[in-house]
């Protein structure tokens, strides 16, 4: 298992600051989300992590040392804008990418067959990439990224342009990599994917780090101390509850300070209230994303 550390990383393009002093750590075996609006600096950050471009200052460490050519074999990368060698056969392309990641020719061939079988695409191995449907080309692209069985998987907007079926395939492949203990980083705009897949996240805006931490902690930090309950009408006053508002057919219950959710639940049951659903009211990540992005943009303007 491998971890990645970034410490005060800066990158400028002429007068524009693309990445401004970003520091974070991707712990080994975690799925990490990189969020940010368009032009936030996500791709630049990823390219620097992949050693495609060099940072102006700061350090990027892979398992505690600067990335070496040999380490590149253990990290795989899927760029945002994708394409493959259109005129070449599926098998040749996958084998080539496997070999470039340090697999022997024989091993690369075996992994190609294995992956194509897994994706239920073994019958297209002799076809040219351009002969495949767009959806299948996308699957091959994902396969080309994962074929070398890397320790670290870095994907720039992996869900962009995918149809729902391929989103599901990609998600299951990433989840599988996570389960296998691989370190996965992906950038995205789709918050539901982050909520579904990520353990930790970093949000950047205008090159600056604006949100970073465990997903659970962030959701809690930005959520109101309320409960969402679907139940029979609440007759009379319940001493543990401060106020109640309606959100659709759900009641949003604000417990008094210091009152735990299970105390509220017990009190409601004791009063014979029929409860269908009872959950903590957390702010969706999307709302947090918009709020944080707007706040940081305002601060930058000031």
């Amino acid at each position: 298992m491998s971890k990645i550390n970034l410490e005060n990383v800066w990158k400028r393009f002429d007068s524009k600051v693309a990445v401004a002093g970003v520091s974070f750590e991707i712990p080994p075996g975690k799925v990490f989300g990189l969020l940010g609006p368009n032009g936030a600096g996500k791709t630049t950050l990823i390219r620097m992590m992949m050693d495609i471009i060099k940072p102006d200052s700061g350090t990027i460490l892979f398992d505690g040392h600067v990335l070496t050519t040999k380490d590149k074999d253990r990290i795989t990368y899927l760029p945002e804008e994708r394409g493959l060698y259109r005129k070449e056969k599926v098998r040749d392309v996958l084998e080539y990418f496997g070999e470039l990641k340090g697999l022997s020719r024989q091993n690369s061939r075996a992994r190609t067959i294995e992956y194509l079988t897994k994706l239920d695409m073994i019958e297209v191995h002799q076809k040219k990439i351009e002969e495949l449907s767009k959806g299948n080309q996308q699957k091959i692209q994902i396969a080309a990224t994962l074929i070398s069985d890397p320790q670290v998987v870095i994907l720039d907007e992996p869900f962009t342009g995918l149809d729902p079926l391929n989103v599901r395939v990609t998600k299951s492949l990433l989840a599988e990599e996570g389960r296998k203990g691989k370190t996965v980083l992906f950038s995205t705009h789709q918050m539901n994917q982050v909520e579904e897949l990520c353990d930790e996240l970093l949000m950047i805006n205008l090159g600056k780090q604006v949100l970073y931490g465990r997903l659970e902690d962030i959701l809690q930090r930005y959520s109101e101390p309320a409960l969402l309950v679907e139940c029979s009408p609440l007759d009379g006053t319940i001493p543990e509850i401060e106020r109640v508002t309606m959100e659709g057919k759900l009641r949003k219950i604000y417990p008094k300070p210091g009152i735990a959710p299970h105390t509220v639940l017990k009190s409601m049951i004791d009063r014979g209230i029929q409860i269908e659903r009872f959950q903590k009211a957390s702010t969706p990540l999307e709302e947090i994303f918009i709020k944080v992005a707007q706040e940081s943009s305002r601060e930058a303007e000031q």
Binding site: I52, P79, G83, Y85, Y96
Partner: protein, 433 residues
Amino acid sequence: MNKTLIVARREYLSTVRRRGFVIATIGMPLFFVLLYGIIGIVTYFTVRQEQEKAETVGIVDEGGLIKSDLLAKLAGSDVENTMEEQVKTMLQNRGGQQLKKLAGRIQLKTFKSREDATAALVMKQIRCYYIIPSDFLRTGVIRLEIKKGGLMSDNEPGWNSVRRLVVASLVDGKLDEALALRVSIPPKLDSEIVSDTGQPDKGGKFSQISGFAVPYAFMLFFMMAIMGSGGYLLQGVAEEKENRVIEILLSSVTTDQLLAGKVIGLCGAGLTQIAAWISIIVAPAALVFPFLDLRWSQLVVAVIFFLLGFLLFGTLMGGTGALGNNLKESQQSSIVWTMSSIIPVFFVHILLSEPNGTFARVLSYIPLTAPITVMLRVGATRVPWWDITLSAVIIFASLFVFVRLAAKLFRMGTLMYGKRPTLMEIIRWLRAS
């Protein structure tokens, strides 16, 4: 396997599998063989037809210089013979039957006046006519009246016949036979090519030409291969940039490995092409024409400089080609190298007339012009070995500089999209990096 070699293998295979490459490698030499075959056959028959076609040329002898008995026997005669024999016969026994043609199939016809000759010219009975004026002995001028012809047509048809006839008439009976013959027929040059050991070269003139054939062919092959395979390199880089495969590649290999792999693969493809051309054109030619002198030393020098040149231009084209956003822009960026490679061709006359001269040497020491210059020089003469070695060392040394420079350009270019950089921007970046 080394990653550079993995890239090289892929580049090589993807290039040699291209339809355009296969057509150029196998189809083009066959096409040229066929083309030149057809041209040869057509030319042969056309020339033969021309030779068989008799042309009538008029003479107006105003001074009465031409001996009348000679003229009478010349007119309308139709027997072929060699030039020397014709004149000899004419002088010795005045055998009119053998005085048909003095140069080509020319028939001479006399006219009493210019008016008669002009009328015949207008009626297309004669091709032209020569006037030997009455003051010829004083002026030495013979006048030709001829219709406007084509650019490539003979503008003095029958002149040799007329001139020699005039000379023969002038000396007839005044000199002894041998002297008269030498005056009428100017000296002929009979040259012999001698080999390095002083022995007559069995191939003669042909071996001199064929000695030049190998380097000359290599020069042509080099230019064609640089333009062809260089095009594939640019196409590959442009494609990889457009579809962003380049980013996946650069996450696995360094820019130096990628560029080196591409150039090595390209060299392999170029050599394959050369090998195919040699086996299709040169080898059969050597079998058909045993006098073709294919010297190993020349072949070795040609191959070495071909490889060095290919590495040099491939590296430079790869570096600058990466600056474009698409194939067209990549070609525009790298055209300067293609043009540089063919500079020596513009000076081919100087290089061949003075292959060991200062100018030829200077071009041999400039890395961009050296490959073709050296190939031409070794074909034209014996170039000192140290001279060839020095040139090779210069190219080799410059390769280190150019590889670094091209790798920098390649690194910047591969990830740069949008506006193409200006020359000043490129220089600034190179300095900054």
